[in-house]
């Protein structure tokens, strides 16, 4: 079977998760590569969750929150954005391709946008091939 990237998606309850539900009620199709975990706010996404997902074998991690200015909790998405910038820098230093982690804004009315983001991310991940993070860490553990 051909390689299918596995994406873990962290979606905020108020905008992005509702937007993803809207993609469903509107029957907008997108690849089945994303597995969604609901959080109340994108600011709840601890960077260690992203690392944990990569270590557990995710080929990509998608974090979605409300558009700037629209956060249900006023400004959680801004905090997520700042954290994300630092996380991405650290991941780059570790040698992780920047395409593997992505932060996107998806509102409750943007079912199409959610589908587009997932489709685009899946297509960008395919040529990268499977993430080497999990096998590398496992090999390291064996060597020690």
């Amino acid at each position: 079977m051909s390689y299918e990237p596995r994406i873990v998606g962290f979606l905020c309850n108020w905008c992005s998760y509702t937007g993803a539900d809207l993609a469903g009620t509107s029957r907008i199709h997108y690849p089945a590569n994303v597995r969604v975990i609901r959080v109340m706010c994108s600011a709840r996404v601890d960077p260690t969750f992203v690392l944990k997902a990569l270590r557990a074998g995710a080929d990509g991690v998608l974090v979605c929150g409300c558009h700037p200015g629209d956060c249900h909790y006023t400004e959680g998405n801004y905090k997520a954005m700042r954290r994300f910038a630092l996380l991405q820098k650290a991941l780059r230093d570790f040698g992780v391709e920047p395409e593997r982690v992505r932060l996107e804004w998806v509102s409750a009315s943007e079912g199409q946008r959610f589908a587009d983001v997932v489709t685009d991310m899946t297509e960008r991940l395919r040529p990268l091939g499977p993430s080497r993070i999990k096998p590398t860490l496992e090999a390291d553990a064996v060597e020690r």
């Binding site: 299918e4 596995r6 873990v8 108020w14 905008c15 998760y17 509702t18 937007g19 993803a20 539900d21 809207l22 993609a23 469903g24 009620t25 509107s26 029957r27 907008i28 199709h29 997108y30 690849p31 089945a32 597995r35 969604v36 975990i37 609901r38 959080v39 109340m40 706010c41 600011a43 709840r44 996404v45 601890d46 960077p47 969750f49 944990k52 997902a53 557990a56 074998g57 995710a58 558009h67 629209d70 249900h72 909790y73 006023t74 400004e75 959680g76 905090k79 954290r83 509102s107 409750a108 009315s109 079912g111 199409q112 589908a115």
Partner: protein
């Protein structure tokens, strides 16, 4: 600690899930997961027998946790939590896997969809094992309501709520109440005057001591949650003044529709041929009391064209619901004002679905109106007549019933323009955080069972902002939205999730990082203990502080690290 006993239910949702996801295979995979003592499939888990099955199994099999793999938790999490409570189990010992909205409805490969559904269910099973019992919290419910839009829907909702004792702020963007109804002369099918319908409501609203009408105003910001919203209202155009801030418990959105721009169908010549007008322009003539051509002459041939912008793949695929009866009303009004005039009605299908509509159609057909049927996608062509034709315009139509191409004379053509979502509907949807469908209409919580609520608690929709509808349906929705709000307000308090952050003082280092992060100032620092703590009533459970605490001292209830990590492992196992 022994593993909790978990019951798993995979809903087929009729065929909504089962046609794309192999529910039996998903249940079988779940049965092998740690702690799972039973895994069943069922046609409709949300039905009474479905819920009853959960209650029975909890009792018979001593279940301590329940997972339902079905629709979105935004749809039925509450339903199933209530079933757990009925069986005496803490409602938070429940988790849903969303395999409908986020799986079966969005994928077209049954194998991939089944694999994904299995992964989502595995995540839910691993998560639920980490759940902790929580108690619901009661919070005060502000009885005051914000109504956005001063058309017939907004006026109706405002009056109901104010009559029951709540304070209403009615925000209207224009300088007058009445909305689109104020532009109409008579209403079909009983030919009652729109003015009469409105005058009574508007004067009651204006004189009501508990309704504050804000004209030339719009809502610029809405924050908070059901029972405890805060809104900011500014004037349009902005006068630079400080926004008016109000506290409300619920919001009714009644922002209405706009008419289709007829100039988009170029070969109808609207905007170029002076005697091609829209239905709203004709209403203005009727209200002024004189049906006339652009040069002031009385028309001898009046032609009505249906489905302008509606029921067409290039513009709007839906039916606008009111135009057929409105066209019949025009035929009626032309006949009574100009008894000599000939009326020709060019229609696609005559939709006479409402109460009294069929009788009205029959009555109009009996007076001299020529009905010609054209085919959807084969629009009549309107052109300027020549100097010898003795008429202003000629319309060529491929008539369906006779199968012939007919040319008819016209001095006045009335385009029955359909309804469409307002240009600013996207901004409104973002403002109050509700969804829109592909045509821009606001989406209800459930199209049949919950048509005026939305996916955001405390935000209701009524009237034509949700879809085209006639006056009785609009008014009924406005009453319904008001009733939903009043039913909730009656108790004065509402139950909210017992979900908030808490700080383990033994782990807290007193760095105060969380104090600054909290958007609600819900975290206080105790200078004596040199530790921070959360004021749970103020906390809104966003979890921002939880993710930021360098000591891992903050726990986000029901979204703990352990629970989320269990999900991560579950989806990737």
């Amino acid at each position: 600690m022994s593993k909790p006993r978990i019951g798993v239910y995979v809903c087929q949702c009729g065929t909504n899930i089962a046609k794309m996801v192999d529910c039996e295979a998903v249940a079988k995979a779940a049965a092998a997961l740690p702690g799972v003592v039973l895994a069943k499939t069922y046609k409709y888990m949300c039905s009474n027998p479905g819920q009853e099955m959960i209650v029975q199994d909890i009792k018979e099999h001593g279940l301590e946790r329940v997972v339902v793999s079905a629709c979105s938790p935004r749809m039925h999490e509450r339903t199933f939590r209530a079933a757990l409570a009925t069986a005496g189990l803490n409602p938070y010992f429940f988790e849903m896997a969303n395999i409908r909205e986020q799986c079966s409805w969005v994928h077209d490969d049954p194998l991939a969809a089944t694999e994904k559904a299995t992964a989502l269910l595995r995540a839910a099973v691993l998560r639920v094992a980490q759940h902790e019992p929580l108690e619901k919290m009661m919070v005060d419910m502000c009885p005051d309501v914000l109504v956005i839009g001063g058309g017939i829907a907004g006026l109706t909702a405002a009056l109901d709520i104010a009559t029951a004792g709540g304070k209403v702020t009615l925000v209207e963007r224009t300088g007058a109440l009445g909305g689109n109804l104020a532009r109409i002369d008579l209403t079909a099918p009983y030919l009652t005057s729109a003015r009469d319908l409105l005058v009574e409501r508007v004067s009651r609203v204006r004189s009501h001591p508990r309704i504050a009408v804000k004209l030339d105003s719009q809502v610029s910001k809405l924050s908070g949650f059901v029972g405890n919203y805060k809104a900011e209202i500014v004037s349009v155009p902005s006068n630079g003044g400080a926004p008016l801030e109000i506290a409300i418990g619920n919001v009714v959105v009644c922002t209405g529709y706009q008419e289709f721009d007829a100039s988009r169908i170029t070969h109808y010549g609207y905007g170029k041929l002076p005697n091609v007008i829209t239905s709203f322009e004709f209403e203005a003539m009727l209200r002024a009391g004189r049906i006339q051509m652009a040069d002031g002459r009385l028309p001898k041939n009046v032609c009505l064209v249906h489905c302008v912008g509606s029921r067409s793949p290039e513009f709007h695929s839906y039916c606008s619901r009111v135009c057929c009866m409105t066209a019949l009303k025009y035929a009626h009004e032309v006949h009574s004002a100009l008894p000599e005039a000939r009326v020709c009605d060019l229609y696609v299908d005559m939709h006479a679905f409402g109460k009294g509509h069929e009788d009205f159609y029959k009555k109009t057909s009996e007076v001299k109106t020529l009905f010609l049927m054209y085919k959807k996608g084969d629009r009549p062509v309107i052109r300027k007549a020549g100097p010898d034709d003795g008429v202003d315009m000629l319309i060529e139509v491929n008539e369906q019933l006779s199968g012939e191409t007919i040319e008819i004379p016209a001095d006045l053509v009335i385009l029955m323009v359909g309804m469409e979502a307002r240009n600013d509907s996207y901004e409104v949807s973002r403002l109050v955080n509700i969804s829109q469908d592909k045509e821009g209409w606001f989406i209800e919580s459930h199209p049949k069972l919950d048509p005026v609520a939305t996916t955001t608690d405390g935000i209701y929709i009524a009237g034509t902002c949700a879809a085209p509808k006639d006056i009785p349906d609009t008014v009924a929705q406005a009453h319904a939205a008001a009733a939903r709000i009043l039913a909730k307000s009656a108790r004065g308090r509402i139950e909210v999730d017992a979900v908030f952050a808490e700080i383990d003082e033994n782990k807290c280092s007193g760095c105060r990082m969380c104090n600054e992060l909290c958007p609600y100032s819900a975290i206080e620092f105790d200078p004596v203990k040199k530790r921070s703590h959360v004021i749970s009533a103020v906390c809104k459970a966003c979890g921002c502080c939880v993710a930021a605490c360098p000591s891992g001292a903050i726990k986000g209830r029901h979204f703990t690290d352990a629970q989320i990590i269990a999900q991560i492992e579950g989806v990737l196992a």
